[in-house]
Symmetry: C3
Subunit: 176 residues, 3 copies
């Protein structure tokens, strides 16, 4: 079974200064451990909401061979929310269906889901997915899009993910 | 209670020449009066479908301190429909969830809802929301997105809106 | 009844080399024949997944007076999937509602629908719509968006389409 490499990037001025604990980044890692049967290496970064820093962190993680990079935070309308901008800048392909689906699922719980600008895209050979900053939304958003993630990573030349089907059902269409 | 400032921009070649009455702009103001408990100043503009004119009107309204700017008209595929282009040009952040949600709601009524390019975004410290030109769609679209508007305006540093909960339920997540 | 001109563009490295038969392009033509009462001329192209070639093909078809241009293939995340990029480059207006609606419909069948970047837009006086490459998705996606297509083509100055209402219900709002 392939050994997977996953980047986890928390963007938060306060968490990066140690003012509060980064629960969301840890929730992403816990969710990946629950989903995947593969052994995984995690590259974890907790950084300030500075666009250039987020961009260089994302491209560095892509460069080191992450199959998947998941961000949390910085997707709202506030002036310091620049994770979406950074993601759009470093990706050569954007996948708007991820944001649409995550907003649609979050909208079942809170009407403010429409304020999220979260997106996904391809940077080098990595799939980057933006998640909101709120810990409670991490699992909900990942459950909504992860079924399509292993096949996406196949298509961009990444390693072969295998999921624990008792936790999450992934889907790979038959090749034509 | 804060005194709110709201811009209302009708873009229509014919309404701006007085060929017909601008019902949609008035419907926006009536809806805001029904929603909000705050006292509001309205800045109303009815202008031609000229992109540069729409852009300068939007940035002027943002400059004068509007918390919210609502446009009507110019979001379709016709050559003179340029309100969306103007909005995208003057905003430093776009909020695609607004357009997605308004199209999803309009789709319950008419299949041509997919032709609308309406969006929303942040220009300076103002939230701009595009509505379609048809009077009947104004209330429907505002009902679909307004619950998230006061919190969005909080996040961009605007004044504190308070709604008549017997008319519209707004939502502010608890701060973390 | 107007005589309509429709472009059908299959982008596929393998189909364009004759390695396999282009079933999707033929499915588009068959669907249009079932939908439309008008007589139609079809301009069919089966080309490699090369962005410049796709762009020049699309602009040529628009130039020759196609009312509608439907593409199939090249909308996924793989490196050779560049039909969406080509479409975005040649269109002066994009219509994100088409992609949203096609992904929403495809999501009822497969979670990997969120990987599709399919969009639609206006190039000169032609409406371009991206469909996925899989033959089974052609009819499903066209059924989801075609009801809005004739009115869209009216708005951009194209010919007047008339549909077989026993096959597909199209919709034109009353003019204001």
């Amino acid at each position: 079974m392939d050994r997977i490499k996953i980047g986890v990037v928390t963007t938060s001025d306060r968490a990066s200064q140690g003012i509060y604990e980064d629960i969301s980044g840890k929730a992403i890692i816990d969710t990946m451990k629950a989903y995947l049967l593969n052994e995984c290496d995690y590259e974890y970064r907790c950084i300030a909401d500075v666009q250039e820093l987020i961009e260089s962190t994302l491209t560095d993680l892509a460069q080191t061979g992450c199959d998947l990079i998941v961000t949390t935070g910085g997707t709202g309308p506030a002036p310091r929310d620049v994770t979406t901008e950074a993601t759009e800048n470093v990706c050569h392909k954007l996948l708007p269906g991820f944001g649409e689906q995550m907003r649609a699922v979050s909208l079942r719980h809170v009407p403010t889901a429409i304020l999220s600008r979260q997106t996904a895209g391809i940077c080098q050979n990595s799939l980057i997915i933006n998640l909101p900053g709120k810990p409670s939304a991490i699992r909900e958003c990942l459950d909504a899009v992860f079924p399509a993630v292993p096949y996406c990573i196949d298509l961009i030349g990444g390693r072969y993910m295998e999921a624990d089907e008792s936790v999450i059902s992934i889907f790979r269409p038959k090749q034509k």
